[in-house]
Amino acid sequence: MTFQEVVVAGLVGFEWAVLGYFFLVNVVYGILLVAAAAELRRVVLRTRGRSMERLLSSPLVPTISVLAPAHNEEATVVASVGALLSLHYSNLEVVVVNDGSTDRTLEVLEDAFELVATSSIHRRRLDTQPVRGAYRSSTHPQLVVVDKENGGKADALNAGLNFITGELVCVIDADTLIEEDALQRLVLPFLSQDGLLAAGGTLRVSNGSDIAQGRVTRARAPRTVLPGIQVVEYLRAFLFGRLGWNRLGGNLIISGAFGLFQREAVVDAGGYLHDSVGEDMELVVRLRRHGYEHGGPRHVTFIPDPVGWTEVPESWRVLARQRERWHRGLFDALWRHRRMLFNPRYGAVGLVVYPYFLFIELIAPFIELLGILGLATGLLIGVFDFRFALLFFMVAYAINIVLSMFTLLLEEFSFRRYTGFGNRVRLLTWAFLENFGYRQATVLWRVRGAVRFLQGSTEWGEMVRKGFDSTT
């Protein structure tokens, strides 16, 4: 064979291998989708007609401390904290950690909640940057604000863990709005399952929705492309990805923006790591691993029903930074706990869940990028024709459209947050458009994130927020 023939054969073979990989990936997605549909059906049947009022007054429900780290959040923190204080849950404590903000985050909290300096003595089980002071609200005695020197999100969370008193800790981002009865729903698995470490709730995109007094009063599909597509992404990730894993071995991710954890398990495992960019995912992996290694609680579940609303990036630049960071975090978490891979000691997590995250979530962007480059090269030099390119496109992207449509149908059959024909049409439109440019951009960002991890980057980047005061 000539050199040219070898190159052509290699390119063709490689592209078929990429196609085969994506075919397998979509088979896995299909299994997840079926599992998610079955799980969603169970959840809907269980919660339909269920009375939540009992939990409001039951003395047997665990105590919950809501822990919200805040750094330069003056635009949204008062609304967010106000919403936290009005959550429908009887045994509730709210701890906000001001992580060395350089804006007026602490001042606006002081004004809004009439904070009074209190003793900053606390149980120091986790090392953190120094605590400058602690404040308790005179209008809402269950609100504590911890003011500390800047140390990053993980450090702020650990400082909060030293102060809280609840059996369970709900970790949320200060800019996440959670629904009034979210904690009632999120606590249910802890009442019905032994050995549960943590439970995650659904995050939805608040951009474009009506918001009043820290609550989303009406969900609307955004009218602009970037947040609109992210709505579909989030629905796919939560309604089909995480829900599917409930039936297939449990989750490895609980969003750092909205999750409920056994406090003692988190502290025993050493709290959040300072040098991890994906500290939320890393913690969950470590907690599960710790459970398997020490015979403690080891299960993590996801509940589609309690909802937290978060503002997503509306600029490509900020979105790119976010996605890079997420992929760096994924790589970091998987690398730290690589001994779990295919290790039967860790049960389904080691044999199924971890390999999925490694071979599909982590590696897929690389394969996809190489596939696109190979395809483009092949088209350029005349090795591939249009039919092959179409085949590649369908396997890689068109099935993604089908999965998104299934997800939208799952949403329609279950929670139906987006009412009105206009919202539904917009969601469908974004689901289609996602694969023409956006998807490819996320591939690049994720690859870049993985490369930066290998280069040792730990920066977070800035998130630009519009705030929740106005209806958009």
Binding site: L60, T63, N91, P141, T165, L191, S192, F413
Partner: protein, 354 residues
């Protein structure tokens, strides 16, 4: 060629899938739009009429017709959204309406369905409306955990001997959710369940590791807090399992009495921190100020949780407790001084998260 065939097959499959999904999605959207225009307003009108009639104390024939015109699913939605905020005469009216429209009978029939979701729904409706003893009692032993848990909630208002026996059996259910539902329901039954709980407590062994049911039984007893529980609680406060001891002393702290107090003071020296913390809390609950010095000694306990409970207990004991706290701030024990300062800094309005 294989590739061409594959492409054609994929194209056909994909096209069919997309068309199917679009068709389903369109049909669903159209149906929802129709429902939003035609059905939801009817439900809202029925609901508004119903709420007005309940406030007036009688159900008008028009209201009955409006409710009857809805499907059973919609009737259930209507009742479950409005029904939970009412009680007494209004609830009786609602139950009567449900019988008239056939919803009650449907719920009873659902309790006998082979599908767990139907049995669950039937139990939910009958919990709301009351009645259905013959249909729901067997559900306390249902094969499905969700149904058993719902039946436990129903049992609160139907405390016959058989129901109570089954409800207490649920405290030992293999499913944690059913155990929780039972432990939450039992105290709400009130006096009818006291004798049964006392009997079970008397039969509960104090040796060996505790069953989950023992813990839930003690929690349920704590919710009822009858003086007849003192004797078995005193016995169980000497159990091998620290979890049992802790809950037994918590029960003693709620029931009270000389013997209970004396035992709680003894348990301040228990080997397990969780038990000491429970003993401290029990004394705080009782407000037993003569124990303030003994509780004050726990401000220097090795366990943070015990120290914190000691601080809160002293705070609950009023002036004697405050005195012990202020003295501790000036003492040599650093842990005790810190905890005393932390407790004294709490505002009067503060209630511990428990």
């Amino acid at each position: 060629m294989i590739e061409e065939r594959l492409v054609e097959l994929m194209l056909v499959l994909f096209s069919v899938l997309v068309v199917l999904l679009l068709a389903v999605w369109s049909a669903l959207s159209l149906w929802k739009s129709w429902r939003a225009r035609m059905v939801d307003p009817a439900v809202e009108r029925a609901r508004a009429r119903l709420l007005q009639d309940l406030a007036d104390g009688r159900i008008a024939p028009d209201t009955e017709s409006a409710v009857r015109s809805l499907s059973f699913n919609l009737q259930m939605r209507l009742f479950t959204r409005g029904g939970r905020q009412i009680s007494g005469r209004q609830r009786s009216l609602l139950a009567e309406l449900a019988r008239t429209t056939g919803l009650y009978q449907r719920a009873v029939a659902d309790c006998r369905s082979i599908r767990w979701s139907r049995r669950l729904r039937g139990a939910q409706v009958l919990t709301l409306l009351g009645g259905g003893k013959g249909a729901v009692t067997p559900l306390l032993r249902d094969p499905h955990r969700y149904v058993r848990a719902q039946a436990a909630e129903w049992a609160v208002e139907h405390p016959s001997p058989t129901v109570l026996k089954n409800l207490l059996d649920l405290l030992d259910d293999p499913d944690p959710g059913a155990r929780f539902a039972a432990a939450d329901a039992v105290p709400r039954v009130g006096p009818p369940v006291v004798e049964s709980i006392a009997e079970r407590l008397a039969q509960t062994p104090s040796s060996g590791s505790a069953r989950p049911g023992t813990i839930r039984l003690l929690e349920a007893a704590a919710g009822v807090r009858d003086p007849s529980f003192i004797t078995p609680a005193l016995r169980l406060s000497r159990a091998d399992d620290p979890g049992v001891r802790a809950r037994a002393v918590a029960l003693l702290g709620l029931v009270g009495g000389e013997d209970a107090v004396a035992r709680a003071v003894e348990m301040l020296d228990d080997l397990m921190a969780a038990v000491r913390a429970a003993a401290v809390r029990a004394l705080g609950n009782l407000g037993y100020w003569p124990a303030a010095p003994a509780v004050g000694a726990r401000l220097a306990d090795l366990s943070w949780d015990v120290r914190r409970e000691a601080g809160l207990a002293l705070r609950a004991m009023g002036s004697p407790g405050q005195l012990v706290l202020r003295r501790a701030t000036r003492g040599d024990e650093r842990f005790a001084a810190d905890m005393a300062r932390l407790t004294l800094a709490l505002p009067d309005t503060y209630r511990p998260v428990r």
